[in-house]
Amino acid sequence: MEFLRRALNPWGEDVPIGVSWDLIWAAVIIGAVFVVVHALMVPKKVGTGEVDPDEAEGLPEKLQRHKPGARGFHWSMSATMFALLITAFFPVIGIQFPWVTIHWIAGVLLILTVIYHIYHVFAKQDFWTMWIDRRDIEEGKQGLKAALGKADAERPRAGKYPVDQKMFHHVAMVATLGAVVTGVLMMFRIDNFLWAERTYMFSDATWGWIYVIHGVCGIGLIFLVIAHVYFAIRPEKRWMTWSMINGWIDRDRYLENHDPARWTVPEAGTQAAEAEGD
């Protein structure tokens, strides 16, 4: 299997021109194997419902997990991401249609979505909720042991985001930013109404690597999306998926999975009102 597509440019130099399309299938197969192995090895542990009544005191029944803006971001990101993946890869695997214009416009929408997200994170949310600290690493270790069935291991409760979600976020962020930055540059090679063509802005080899990075990030996102969708529909995670739709989680799920010291929900009264309003 080859990793790169290469060609001889007009000056006889051997330059990369893109990533090998065989890697699409590699990503799909690795994704499928990951899903099957995970589904077989990790039991679907749906909540025990055991919560500490002291901790529950004063908390409303519904707690807001995602503000409308955060949910809007998530679904806009997923719509544009699916549009990008479909327009990029379906034509390569033989389902052909005019893809380039839809692709770059979806790309521009994705960029707007990401800009909104960055603004939202800094202005409205707590940036540090996604940060991985020492407690997350400990949580990860214990969680892994518990998932692999170690008798005495129990996964500690997480902050707002469990460590595996944080890791997913960071990897997806790198892949998305890689595709975004290279995608914006690639728009100088195609006809678009935002800016004029600058085909020779970089050397052939540099352009080649830009295409390679775009392809690698895109193919990486195939795997990440498969894994993400799989976790979203696993029975023990569905409450989290629902919260991305309706915004709230119930108190028991909160206390069962989150450490109130690490994720402090705002004032109970305001919280309940907001959750009702969503």
Partner: protein, 333 residues
């Protein structure tokens, strides 16, 4: 064009005697195989050593797809291996489809028409010289169009239908076949398929590396012309740099059904302005119910170029298209 080196890289030559054998061989070799008809496009590629297939399937002995016969519904059935001369000089083609006879008769030179086939003329690749020089452009699987930049030599390139690639379809018979509502019969190991000529050609938006729907393993066997329209009028004109022989800069093929002095139906097709022959649907709709006058032609010419966008060196094609469409309505006979 690249320097032609006389030695062609080696390949396995297969000479099937029938369509079944040919498609079996094509299926066996997939994208490593190459169909050889008259060889006029083929040998350019081979001598320039740009295309290096492992196997060449020569259709020279496949007689069942050579020749012209009457089709069931009063039309004509033309085998893909029929030479362009035979198409241009056939009595039925001249008598009932003078549009096609004109188009085939204007291809290149007598020698090339003797050797070149209708199938090869339809399926031939674009003449974009960057691509023909073996440069790794989009059409060759790369990530650049050398012809679309502000500094490119793009006088012969397209004014509509571009999608990263701005090459044009060079065939003279293709627009005539679209204007005649021809059907293309394609055979592969999975059976026979038929395409209306207008759907047979595809643009780079769908697949930047192909000009037709044919995929490896697909053989164009026949072109079927339906019975011509009652009282049809025709027009074919090809504009080229020199009168002796040359590819078209713009060509137009039209068929008009005129009754009571009014256009009932029309097919207006322009080639060499896009990566595929362009059927001008908006023009056809606009001229229905009108007289085939200069005024109608003038209006049609304006509509024809509404979506056109010139590259650095080919804005003359806009004026040419406008005028050819106008003439193809006014002067159709």
């Amino acid at each position: 064009m690249a320097v032609i080196r006389d030695m062609i890289p080696p390949f396995e030559l297969y000479q099937p005697a029938g369509v079944d054998d040919a498609v079996r061989l094509m299926d066996e070799h997939g994208s490593d195989g190459w169909v050889l008809a008259g060889g006029l496009d083929t040998f350019d590629w081979f001598k320039d050593r740009i295309k290096r297939p492992a196997a060449v399937i020569d259709l020279g002995g496949v007689d069942e797809i050579r020749g012209i016969t009457g089709a069931a519904d009063g039309g004509l059935d033309i085998g893909a291996m029929t030479s362009l001369t035979d198409v241009a000089e056939h009595a039925d083609v001249q008598g009932r489809y003078p549009l096609l006879a004109d188009a085939a008769g204007l291809v290149a030179t007598p020698q090339i028409r003797n050797q070149g086939t209708l199938g090869g003329n339809i399926v031939q690749d674009t003449r974009c010289w960057y691509y023909r020089s073996g440069w790794p452009c989009y059409r060759a699987g790369g990530n650049i169009c050398y012809a679309a930049t502000r500094r490119s030599m793009n006088r012969e390139h397209c004014i509509v239908g571009a999608d990263r690639c701005v090459a044009v379809n060079p065939s003279d018979t293709a627009p005539a076949l679209v204007a005649l509502d021809a059907e293309m019969v394609v055979v592969s190991t999975s059976g026979e398929r038929t395409y209306p000529a207008a759907d047979f050609f595809i643009g780079p938006d769908i697949d930047i590396e192909r000009m037709t729907v044919l995929e490896p393993g697909d053989l164009l066997t026949r072109v079927v012309l339906p019975a011509p329209w009652e009282g049809a009028r025709w027009y074919f004109e090809k504009i080229r740099d020199r009168k002796s022989w040359d590819f078209s800069l713009v060509s137009v093929a039209s068929t008009l059904s005129v009754q009571g002095g009014v256009i009932q139906d029309a097919r207006i097709v322009v080639n060499s302005i896009a990566p595929y022959p362009v059927r001008m649907g908006a023009v056809e709709a606009a001229i229905r119910g009108r007289e085939p006058s200069d005024e109608t032609g003038h209006m049609a010419g304006e509509i024809a170029v509404e979506d056109a966008r010139a590259l650095r060196h080919n804005d003359y094609k806009i004026a040419l298209t406008r005028n050819l469409v106008r003439r193809s309505i006014r002067d159709a006979a």
